[in-house]
């Protein structure tokens, strides 16, 4: 209902504007709004995470319009619902670009949805801002990755466990799909490069939404009972985390004995969980709601006022959209147009302050520089930062710890202009990304 009113209102505004400007302007300026596509699932499994991002985008667009819009025009959000259905993501992206002619798309959550949209945005030369931490090994001319690459989340987290908590044995537990598999491949290579023996690494995959963790937790307990300090690096996705942590608690595995560091558990997910069994376990992100900066306080205030709920939490992908959107605005202003090629060129090198301190900069590989934070889960569902990188970490599209991607770099500036340039053979491989 609300959305209907909003659409009606914006239609009304558009007509009013058209009438007003139509008197003075030349017919060439018939396009009075800049359309921004929002491609997040509002139904199905992923709705739990993605609905929040849709609302975040609406908030950011509304705020920008209050400031006077962009290039003298109002921004108009175009919301579509790909319903957690990966092929539908591609269809909806096509609709946004071809029919709605949006200037940029903000969207996707799972890697598989991004991979499904990728060929469409490349074919139709659109812009996609992807706000979620992901497995890397990709860099497209048309995609800007505002979430963390593995070197901005997984690797620092492992460093923290290894150096600060003196962890010697590792359990890499993940959900069975592309992000955990690639991340664990990188982590395994990294751990081995640090002298960890294969016998001290246990890898385990479970299906989406797995709920019976009894034997896996018992295995982890057994694996961790050899006297060497053990930790679990968890790429377990979404819902499956709750029964996992519950089972850990019930089998008496506490964070001080066997800490779990998670890459997919944020404030939003914790708000739907009884947090008691999780207290003390860790998570690695680039943003925590509890970080005490002025920008963050203002962002939280703006969000809670927009969503009309003083208890709603903020999380890492929301910050990614916040940075991504503002960078896009800056780049469009710099380019003076919303033309994809011009904006993509202008985006490289654009800077915008992170909510957690420091200034994010869009690098040549279309990734951001961000601080990495490790936090302990508190009883109120917030994180208490226990460790953080000294400065900002620059996002690296191709991992240096996988032998096949070590020589590959992404650089979208001339003369290389390639998403997977091999520094050894000096060739850009034919792949599109």
């Amino acid at each position: 209902m609300n959305r209907l009113i909003k659409t009606l209102r914006s239609v009304g505004a558009v007509t009013a504007l058209t009438v007003l400007t139509g008197l003075a302007a030349t017919p060439a300026q018939a396009e009075d709004t800049i359309k921004v596509g929002i491609l997040h699932s509002l139904s199905g499994t992923m709705a739990i995470s993605e609905t929040t991002l849709k609302d975040t985008m609406l908030m950011l667009i509304e705020a920008q319009n209050k400031k006077g819009g962009l290039l003298g025009k109002k921004l108009e959000p175009v919301v579509v619902d790909p319903a957690s259905n990966w092929p539908l993501f591609a269809e909806k992206a096509r609709e946004l670009l071809q029919k709605q002619k949006v200037a940029a798309i903000f969207g996707c959550w799972t890697s598989v949805s991004r991979k499904s949209v990728l060929p469409v945005v490349e074919e139709l030369n659109g812009l996609l801002f992807y706000p979620v931490q992901y497995e890397g090994e990709e860099s497209s001319k048309n995609v800007f990755y505002t979430g963390a690459a593995p070197n901005q989340q997984a690797i620092p987290a492992v460093d923290y466990l290894m150096n600060d908590l003196k962890v010697k044995r590792w359990v890499l537990a993940g959900t069975d799909y592309v992000y955990p598999r690639t991340t664990n491949k990188i982590l395994e290579a990294y751990l081995k490069s640090k002298g960890v023996k294969p016998a001290d690494i246990m890898i385990n995959y479970t299906p989406f939404g797995h709920s019976d963790w009894q034997s896996i937790v018992a295995d982890i307990k057994k694996f961790g009972s050899t006297g060497k300090k053990t930790a679990v690096v968890s790429t377990i996705n979404g819902d499956a985390n709750v029964p996992f942590y519950k089972e850990l608690g019930n089998q008496g595995i506490t964070a001080d004995k066997l800490p779990v560091v998670a890459f997919s558990v944020g404030e939003e997910e914790l708000s739907g969980i009884d947090t008691k069994p999780l207290v003390g376990h860790l998570a690695a992100w680039n943003y925590f709601m509890s970080v005490d900066t002025q920008e963050n306080a203002a962002f939280i205030k703006q969000w809670q006022a927009f969503i009309k709920n003083p208890k709603r939490v903020t999380n890492d992908p929301m910050e990614a959209h916040y940075i991504g959107f503002n960078m896009w605005v800056k780049a469009v202003e710099k380019a003076g147009t919303t033309d994809t090629d011009a904006v993509a060129k202008a985006l490289i090198g654009v800077e915008f302050p992170n909510l957690t301190g420091g200034v994010a900069k869009m690098n040549k590989a279309h990734h951001l520089s961000k601080p990495v934070l490790i936090g302990e889960i508190q009883e109120d569902g917030q994180f208490q930062t226990v460790w953080q990188t000294k400065g900002l970490v620059d996002g690296d599209a191709w991992s240096d710890f996988l032998p096949e991607s070590k020589p590959i770099i992404a650089d979208w500036t001339p003369p290389i202009n390639c998403g997977n340039y091999n520094t050894k053979t000096k060739k850009c491989s034919g792949q599109k990304y």
Binding site: S43, I216, T226, G227, D239, D256, S271, G272, D274
Partner: protein, 558 residues
Amino acid sequence: MLKLIETPPKPTRRETLFLLLVSCLWAAALLFIDPALARAEADALAEAANQLKTAPMAELEQAIGRLAKINDPRVPGLFKALRDGRLFYVKASGRMVLADPKDDGYALADALSGEALGETGRFDVKKIPVNNALRNVLGVAIAQLELNAPDARQRLRAVESIGQNLNADSAALLRRQAEQETDAAVREAIAVALALADLAGTDKSSRLKAIQTLEGSLNQEARNRLANLQEKTDEGGFVEPDSDIRNHAAAALKQIEIKLELNHLGETLFFGLSLGAVLVLSAIGLAITFGVMGVINMAHGELMMLGAYTTYVVQTLMPGHIDGSLFVAVPAAFVIAGLVGIAIERGIIRFLYGRPLETLLATFGLSLFLQQTVRSIFSPLNRSVSTPSWMSGSLEINSALSLTLNRFYITLFSLLVFLALLAILKRTRLGLEVRAVSQNRAMAKAMGIRTDWVDAMTFGLGSGIAGVAGVALSQLTNVGPNLGQAYIVDSFMVVVFGGVGNLWGTLVGGLALGVADKILEPYAGTVLAKILMLVFIILFIQKRPRGLFPQKGRAAEA
């Protein structure tokens, strides 16, 4: 500030003399009278406790160390409160308080005296933060203080905690405790801990004796230390040079391994049975609607979801009584899911009897409808359902085998529901009518049974059971709009495998599938185990299309 360092007015000589006398008396009193001494200690306690709130994270450990040295019965309580995140201080007065969340704020009590201080807002108090490192320090400190607790179980836990990181000091502490300890279990734990300490020593005879003590112990540390004795260095030589000790340790280790293996078997069996119990619980409602009535109800999972959401609503309505909430939620979920079930039967399914394909599509559409309704009412986010305290933790049988309480109770509950359902079908008039209608509708009708009414009641019963299963699931998994989808396939699988129309088949089928799954899992991994199970069932159905316990006689032909 200036006022504080202002010197007090100089006392006159007489006053000085008097003061001297008084202070002498005080000193004497301090020496001879206990209460005064205690008061001084209490002040020291208050002061040391106050340091907790001002010390930065890095210095908290020292502050805790200082507190641990003070001999006061209140210290363990203070430590536990700190470990559990209940220790706060009032921002305005700086007073240390214990805070428990109540409504939107906290209920406060003085940290030292325990005196209740009423309630306060969320922002008036500040928590004293702890991290994992500190929790560790606190755990050891609490253990040392609890070594002379009156409760034997507390002492046992304390001994185990100390045993995990033993040094000379704590070993001496344990030796002293061993002399006065009366409880057998605690004595044994102390013996193991001390044996571990001896094993690390250099005296050969005491080391051999230590190995003897450790023989058959299920203590994790004991196993590790014995295993370490067998290890080789990188050069190929043994870490432990004494072959006598090595051989004895190997023998002891072997015994331990056999014992552990047996316990592991027991554990796997329990895991399997509990998984099976969940399968039975979610399938048993379906065994009624699908098995007895022959309705393919794709919305069965959503009825479970309704039951889980009922638990959430019940807990929201009675926030102070989480422990009792499930006892209210079970009947509430039965009634709500049952009513929805009756509505579904009256509204949709009765028009579609005998047309399985349409029923399937209609109920599938209904399941989407129910999901989206819940999403609109409760938001797409998962809801947090708390676990009652009596359901969290585990039942420790020995140090290698413990059964998680939530699974344990759910297994019992599942059997209870099964027996209740069996009793309804076999012993009540409704059950008789249900069986009559399912066996021969026309004949039942001719005998004067209102088949319409029986259909509605049967479907309501099956749906109500699904709701009850939802309450149990809310304790195991997420309460969200998609809860039902995860269980619908498994439920059908169990019913088909067990034999359509046979409750015993559902029970045996569910439990068998659970145990088989858990036996396969360690070898094949979760994903492959699931695939293997499916392949097995497909092959089984090829061979025996009517499942484990097929219905016999004329009823089967209908």
